[in-house]
Symmetry: C2
């Protein structure tokens, strides 16, 4: 079952990337990984599954295949603009994970900005004027049927 | 395979919520759905799968079971504070979906703030000073091994 025709953008989004491996492949692509063998080593994923996930990400226009660097016979995978726009989703997943899924004493990787080497600011939903909203201050308006 | 012990907060987060149905259950909970039968009707999901996903979300402390309203025999599901903190992730999924997964002419549901009835501002990662960053201006610092 898919939500390809759903009127809810969340449903369509999870249809395309709501899979553990797809999200972790995209994370690795942001970390600079481009080659099949690197994804495989980093994710510890069976080749056939990795292959299928990469194919789906390419079909969805999130990754694209580019020629191997320096004339290598092995092609590489690069994020498209649509794929790079997933950055904010990965940041939101990271920040929630940092806050809720680690003990005080447990070390975790951190995302720093290249200019100051400091953690990013916490993402917060805001209204059109910039006021921070909590979930009770927003509602979904469905499409008229 | 799980990433329960991963040092990457993204990996732990997708482990907990990186499943199509879990994210859509959480979305519905934000929309005010509380009862098993309502989740089932809205998601069109087999009872045994819905039941398993709800149990996992409760086990992870994202949903909690509360007594049925008005003395009803049927218990209900409510987001915990940890669950409500997923709001920003759902907003980011929605905004990416709105931007990339709909044709111009295709209607979709919208998320509005209750005060002005206007769409939320687009989420953007920013550095500690508030400057908007793109993905090339941030890097993951791994935990020293």
């Amino acid at each position: 079952m898919t939500h390809e025709t759903a009127e809810c953008p969340v449903a369509r989004a999870v249809d395309v990337i709501g899979d553990r491996w797809s999200l972790l492949i995209v994370r690795d692509a942001f970390d600079g990984i481009t080659r099949f063998s690197e994804f495989q080593r980093n994710l510890g994923l069976a080749k056939n599954i990795l292959s299928a996930r990469l194919r789906e990400l390419v079909a969805h226009g999130i990754l694209e295949i580019v020629p191997g660097a320096g004339g290598s016979a092995y092609h590489q995978y690069a994020l498209t603009p649509k794929g790079r726009d997933l950055f904010v989703i990965l940041v939101s997943l990271r920040q929630w994970g940092e806050e809720h899924l680690f003990e005080e004493s447990e070390p975790h990787s951190v995302l720093l900005d290249t200019q100051h080497n400091r953690p990013l600011r916490r993402l917060e939903p805001t209204d059109a004027t910039g006021r921070v909203l909590d979930s009770s201050e927003a509602f979904v308006q469905k499409v008229a049927g």
